[in-house]
């Protein structure tokens, strides 16, 4: 049984007089299978959010059928196993992160001990421990987004629906969300994610559907969509000029055309992350702090070498907290954080 099944789903928005206004989704059919990461890819206004809202029962399809975990999207039994991150922050601005997560935990009928434990672990995982006594209303967009992510995971959901999870996050945050999605998938969760950022989708999705104008334009696994079977790339270490010339000559002779040769480039994201990692390591050693919480480096929103980064990319990270020192990110800390994450998201929770 697919986790999400949409058959010929159409959504027409009507105006006050019930006249059709916008056909936001038009005859959408797809299914999301258990344990896969499914991406809805499309430009702004292509109907991604509308589709997700219908899957969550926030909107009702005008035509067609939708089933979530084998039930109607409006069935509370289905909702109990779903986590949702909306495209914007709809949190109560006057609650602290602790109170926010506690509140949503109560809605899932979690007991007090469980709520406390999960809240602490989620905040630690998302690097918001230092801000747990501030109200969500004062948070930057990226920080609020992290709280949104945390509340989506508080019930250890089987299906996680993320509407543009990386919007508003800095590159570290993006990477972290993507890693989180991969971890969730490894733990057998199903993830449905929408995005207009192609890199995000490419990195994490098993399958994608490309939406345009409310219709699916292409759907399939990333390799099947992107593989160019008419070309081939060979990678080898850089050679001295004279050797290279011989190689090219041989290739030219074999192919009958001029082969394209260039140095492979790292992508900017990887480069960025490497720079940050180096800066953080340097800073961590000099400060000499040895934090005991063992949180992975990339989970920490504040990096000491931020000034250097600002020249590279627009800065949308949460404000750095002056109090905390940068933790050393050794392999053990990383493993500990991963362990915590696994514990938190362990598939068989007592119900």
């Amino acid at each position: 049984m697919p986790v999400v099944e949409a058959r010929a789903v159409t959504k027409v928005f009507r105006d006050f007089w019930r006249r059709p206004k916008v056909r936001a989704v038009d005859g959408l059919s797809f299914e999301v299978r258990r344990g896969e990461v499914f991406g809805l890819l499309g430009p702004n206004g292509s109907g991604k959010s509308t589709t997700l809202k219908m899957i969550l029962g926030l909107l009702h399809p005008t035509r067609g059928q939708l089933a979530v975990l084998g039930r109607s999207p409006r069935d509370v039994r289905a909702k109990a196993r779903v986590g949702y991150l909306p495209e914007e922050s709809y949190l109560y601005p006057y609650l602290t992160p602790d109170e926010t997560l506690d509140f949503y935990g109560r809605l899932f009928d979690l007991d007090a001990r469980e709520r406390k434990q999960r809240t602490a672990q989620l905040l630690e995982m998302l690097g918001l421990q230092h801000a747990r006594r501030r109200t969500v209303g004062e948070f930057s967009k990226g920080m609020a987004r992290r709280i949104g992510l945390a509340q989506a995971l508080i019930n250890d959901p089987d299906l996680v629906v993320l509407d543009e999870p990386t919007s508003g996050l800095d590159p570290l945050g993006c990477r972290q969300v993507k890693d989180l999605i991969l971890t969730l998938a490894q733990r057998g969760k199903t993830v449905l994610v929408s995005s207009h950022q192609l890199a995000d989708v490419e990195d994490v999705c098993d399958r994608v559907a490309i939406l345009y104008n409310g219709r699916i334009q292409a759907m399939g696994s990333i390799p099947s969509l992107l593989e160019d079977t008419h070309q081939c790339r060979v990678t080898f270490p850089d050679l001295p000029a004279e050797q290279m010339q011989r190689l090219v000559a041989a290739l030219r002779a074999a192919l009958g055309t001029e082969p394209g040769i260039e140095h492979p480039r790292r992508d900017l994201e990887q480069f960025f992350l490497d720079v940050v990692e180096q800066a953080r390591r340097a800073g961590g050693e000099s400060s000499g702090a040895a934090p005991a919480q063992g949180v992975a480096a990339y989970l920490q929103p504040e990096a000491p070498a931020e000034a250097a980064l600002q020249t590279l990319l627009p800065q949308i990270a949460p404000e750095p907290e002056p109090s905390s020192a940068a933790p050393a990110a050794d392999a053990a800390a990383l493993r500990a954080a991963d362990e915590k994450l696994k514990q938190l998201l362990k598939p068989d929770k007592p119900s």
């Binding site: 969550l56 029962g57 409006r74 039994r77 709809y90 509140f103 949503y104 109560r106 809605l107 899932f108």
Partner: protein, 458 residues
Amino acid sequence: MRSVWAIALISLRNAIRSRVVVLLLAILVLGVIGIPLTVKSDGTLAGYVQILVRYTLGFTMGVLMLATVWAGCAAVASEIQRRQIHLLITKPVSAAQLWLGKWLGLVILNTVVLAVCALVTYGLLRWNTRAEILTPADRQLLAAEIIVARARLAPQPFAAEQRAQQRYAALQTRNELPTNMAPAAIFKALLNAVQIEANTIQPGGRLTWRFDLPPGVSATPTFQLRCKVASALLGPMSMTGRWVVGRERGGAACEVVADHPAHGQFSVSVPGRALAGEGAVRVEYHNINETPVTLLFDVESGLRLLVPVGGWVPNYLRALLISVCLLALIAALGITAGSLFSMPVAAFATFQTLVIFNTAGMVHSLATREASFAAALPGVVQPPGWLDEAMSWFYRGLELLIMPMQNDDPLAMVATGEWISWGDVSWTFAKQVVLASGVLMLLAVAALRRRELALPTD
């Protein structure tokens, strides 16, 4: 239940953070402090207690009602507007739990605020009527007639309708019915005559009433008869009457001879021992005035027996409970309106509904207009016009709808020392909280389940 409480807590915090509600609560604090200081009473002790209990707490109720309408409407409507509802109803929370949580939050808020105001009021009352500053006479008055809870008992009814029907039948058999009057009008006139006769005392004559006592009547040195009379004497004249009061079985009747005004209302104090014994309480009035005067007791409320039932504080508590029921109903009304409409419309709809509720008296008279007289007549079949019939049904339906809002002002009752029974409390609870709020909740649940909550409302 856990999620209901969680939502209740959030709705409470939301209400407290609403500027309108905070403003109203500030006005409330000013009022509770200001009203007893600024409003002049008539100088009597009873007048002071009236002002304190009735106007201060009445003002509190008024402010709480306004705040509740606003907070109730905003509870769901603004959550939809700010889209916080997206995160609520994607959780395993049913529409009923959502509604209940919001409602519970407001009921708790109202209860707490009302309790605080009631406590302050009670403290002021006790402090300003403390023994040291009262004259002995005032002290006694306070204990006997003001800080009391007295049941106001109506006498056993007598079969006025039946007697009027008998007379009508007699006239009919003798063929003496006036031909220029509608049967309903004739009957009404006969009923009037029967009732006036039954409440009239000729010079030297007497009149008897019987009262059933409720359970829980407390022992008392004196109790009161409250009378409303009219007579042929004009001006501020006074006349003398003799009262004989006693139980039907196993007690000794007490006799009281007292002067009383010949017009209007007055009270007569009777020794408490007249209540010893069993059976109904018999009250006789003997018209022993020196100059012969015919006395008429008011047909509707000529004689009431005031007997103490329990203390004033429990009565005060019951009045507050009834007030909480009303606030709970208004909260329900607001939340349901907020589930159906977006914000300014919801508040408008709620106020409109409250206005209609306040016309209940008019609706009642429209619903029961004349029709019953015609129906009671033997041998008279009056085919009413279908429009009349339809209107009558419409008003009866409307009356049924607004019936839950109908009750006497409980604060006025405690302020005048009138007893409120637990039966009144349960009845109010049943109709306002269980029935009316329940129906409103079902309405909201139906609406919330049909509505697409992610649609923008503005």
